[in-house]
């Protein structure tokens, strides 16, 4: 394999590795306790003890950002896995059965698309109270139609392939075919979509936490750090810039990684390069 990797894949992979590495590191080590208040040391400038300084309550900024990375990754992972599993299952089902089941699932997906995610999250928060779990559920929910649509489209194509015909002729039922023949052959498309949805989920989590519908204090979240720093924009603009940058790096990273994976999985593109 001396094929050159796409540039967007390399940049994406580096950024993602940075974010995921930071999140993983925060599990075992942060420079300080992210929730440790030291009011006497508020708005400290960057120093050897506080690399990015401290915030309005004297908490270590770097430690908070690292804990926030962990939070973002966890939320995005659970939401995408949850929404992806349900969506993929629905898409496979729609494609395998066809007819009114397919139409029904796809119209429901359209409905899901038409429903603003933020509105759904606010609704959940209004009914069950704001919590990280509800934020995860809301993000998972908006992922279902996306995955259902991608899966059904890719699966419908695979259903026309000769080897699917051959396995039908061998007497396999639609579910066995979906599991053994369709799913492995559309896995690439699903993984690409999952990577891109990961970026969307990070953004959604930040937005929900910013609005106070996601991570609740004292848990760290980029969105929440951003909303707390907003009122201090004229005093300490860096407190808002850091979490903003983190969000940008994570979203752009996963976005580029997804794009790069798609380029790699599409032989037409790789030949043109």
């Amino acid at each position: 394999m001396n094929r050159r990797l796409p540039v967007n894949f390399i940049i994406g992979a580096v950024l993602v590795a940075l974010v995921v590495g930071t999140a993983a590191l925060s599990l075992v080590w942060t420079p300080h306790d992210a929730t440790q208040l030291t009011i006497s040391n508020k708005f400290a400038a960057p120093s050897s003890t506080h690399w990015l300084g401290t915030d309005q309550l004297g908490r270590d900024v770097l430690s908070q950002l690292m804990a926030g990375a962990r939070n973002s990754m966890a939320v995005a992972l659970v939401a995408v896995l949850l929404g992806g599993s349900v969506g993929v299952a629905l898409g496979l089902l729609a494609s395998a059965i066809g007819g009114w089941v397919e139409d029904g699932v796809m119209r429901l997906a359209d409905l899901g698309f038409a429903f603003p995610a933020l509105l759904f999250a606010i609704m959940l928060a209004a009914v069950f109270g704001p919590s990280l779990t509800n934020a995860v559920l809301a993000i998972a929910f908006i992922n279902i139609p996306v995955f259902a649509r991608v899966t059904r489209g890719a699966a419908n194509q695979v259903w026309t392939y000769d080897y699917v015909l051959a396995s039908r002729a061998a007497g396999l039922n639609r579910f066995a075919i979906s599991r053994d023949h369709i799913l492995p052959n559309i896995a690439a498309a699903i993984i690409v979509q999952a990577t891109i949805e990961f970026a969307v989920a990070i953004l959604a989590e930040a937005a929900l936490s910013y609005l106070g519908l996601g991570a609740q204090p004292p848990a760290s979240s980029w969105g929440r750090i951003l909303s707390e720093a907003q009122t201090l924009m004229y005093i300490a603009p860096q407190l808002a810039i850091y979490p903003g940058l983190c969000i940008v790096v994570a979203v752009v990273g996963f976005g580029l990684l997804g794009d790069g994976l798609r380029d790699m999985s599409d032989p037409r593109l790789s030949r043109e390069r």
């Binding site: 000769d162 080897y163 002729a169």
Partner: protein, 323 residues
Amino acid sequence: MFELDDFSVSFGSGTALRYANLEIREGDRLGIVGESGSGKTMLALCLMGMAPDAATISGRLSIDGQDMTHANERLWQQMRARRVAMIFQEPMTALNPLRRIGDTVMEPLIVHDGLSRAQARMRVLALLEEVGIPDPPARMRMFPHELSGGQRQRVLIALALACNPALLIADEPTTALDANVALRITDLLVRLAHERGMALVFITHDLAAVARTTENIVVMYGGDMVERGPTAQVLANPAHPYTKGLLGARPDPTAPARDANGKRRRLPTLPGTVPPLSALPQGCRFSGRCAVELDYCATTRAPDHAVDANRAAACHLLGGVKP
């Protein structure tokens, strides 16, 4: 065993198969020949219960006396693999590229016959041996891309035979293979059919292959079965104008390359092309291209006329009318 009575398949206004009558008995070896678009593959898919969802089916199809014309998918799944199995034209694409061939062939055994993986493995080894694949234990672990076209077709035959079907449908099994390999595959199919007492429906446009493999033949054109009878007799002495044209179109390697005037001799062809489904003539499908057409051929469907004791052809000319 398998019976079709006035079986028709249509899509909207187009008819893919019209009043097909066919009986396949145990151990029969039947050839189906015709051009692309003549309805051969549609016939095969219908025998498998795999007609496209959009198809409208009329008439009757029965298997072992059971009416399967409008049978549901579940009932068909019971029939497939056990009563009827099929191999396809393109061995290159008929195997899942991401699965080891052993897993692919084991699958129907596990699903249908309820065998354990170990039992299924033993059966697959025997099957691969039977279809002439060398070193089955090693081949089982290979992916399709590691095998040649002929080997893949053998794997597909093993897959089709896994649950001991009473009828094997081979839809142009050799079209994608080179001549030498094709010959070996056709011989393999005949041998397997003979050894297992299995009926074989061999769909092809290779007239030499059909002569080699089958006892009886059905000639199809535009969705009609235009001629039927013992293979040797039909090929030696065709009765239907289409069959005559088809046989006349075989290249003659002994003929000189240039005619008396020194012009390059052209291969004999049938005039025109098969019209699309929606534009087929209402009567005899071959009217418009037929050299001995009568004035009512285009509007009146020709019934089967007996040619002799066990042969029939659907042509008005055989009904006692003088051309």
